[in-house]
């Protein structure tokens, strides 16, 4: 929170920080050229005293999802702040918060795991998305020369149960595979997996370690 405030200050914004810990407040007040308010930001009176109604944006970054929701909703509904941004722990709460009127909600969990998936390892994976609230993953994988499945038919590759290769894109043309279809390097394979077998299927298709 200190670095966030510092970053905004350096860009020329006027900042008010609300924090409920007294020691942290006095430290922040010494370190930052910001207005620091000691209090619970989910208390409407504290928000009022902080001059919230004139603010352009409110950022709710406490570690508790419920507090961040209340801060954003109070700012918007009771004090007319147009832009409200919240941090959420539970990735599901990104959608929940938007439905409940928060302008933007970020899940650090989701952002970090997406970054790790993209950067670490699996460079052959082109796209991943989940359906049915994460119960099913659909992953597009580019088969490289070294992939263990190259040259084998679907029957031979021992795909884990409850997983499926739904489609192959070969030279830009979609192929709906059958058991006898052989996989080649350069194929773009669309795999449908469940969270419990997702790792095993990707390992099979890329040869990489999880």
């Amino acid at each position: 929170m200190y670095f966030l405030a510092k970053a905004f200050l350096s860009k020329g914004y006027n900042i008010t920080v609300i924090n409920r810990k007294k020691e942290e407040c006095s430290w922040l007040a010494r370190q930052l050229k910001a207005t620091v308010v000691l209090g619970n930001a989910t208390d409407p009176e504290v928000l009022r005293e902080s001059g919230i109604s004139g603010m352009d944006a409110v950022l709710a970054v406490t570690p508790n999802d419920e507090d961040n929701l209340v801060i954003c909703q109070l700012s918007k509904l009771s004090f007319g702040v147009l832009r409200t941004l919240a941090l959420v722990n539970d990735p599901d709460n990104e959608d929940v918060f938007r439905e409940l009127g928060v302008t933007t909600a970020f899940s650090t969990t989701r952002m970090i795991s997406a970054l790790i998936e993209q950067r670490a390892g699996f460079e052959d994976i082109i796209g991943v998305f989940s359906v049915a609230e994460g119960k099913v993953n659909v992953t597009e994988v580019m088969l490289t020369e070294t992939a263990p499945v190259v040259g084998k038919s679907l029957m031979e590759i021992n795909l884990p149960s409850d997983s499926l290769i739904g489609c192959i894109l070969r030279a830009g043309e979609p192929v709906i595979p059958r058991g006898g279809t052989t996989l080649y390097a350069g194929d773009r394979v669309v795999a449908i997996t469940l969270p419990e077998n997702h790792g095993a299927v990707l390992k099979l298709l890329t040869g990489g370690d999880i």
Binding site: P44, N64, L69
Partner: protein
Amino acid sequence: MARTKHSYVIVIGCGRLGSFLANTLSKTGHSVVVIDINPNAFSALAAEAFSGFTVEGDATELAVLKQAKMDKADVVIGATHDENVNIMAAQIARSRFRVHKVLVRIEDPNKESYCKAVGIDYICPTALTAEKMMTALNDIR
């Protein structure tokens, strides 16, 4: 609720208020599910009175609310000590799970107008007690 004999009620929080409600509602024939983040709290449910189910988890987590089958609930009661948890869970019950009746406990009377604005029913013991006390004081005078 008096007329619909078998309501499905979810009580969030198993403290003094939550456990009392859960015991009473269960004894009077309602299907009750109690959610609490601390499994030890469920010891407040009386064996002879309570025949419902318990779910251990954080009621601001969607997966926990699904586990409690909130989509089937007729009534959701927010009775934890953290009014923000109550308010958040109640709004999810309303908007996500289309629960007909949601009721929360809040401590801070300053949040009454906010609860009205987001459309959830609330009871504020602080305001109720203060009101009773003021009346009692006026009677003395």
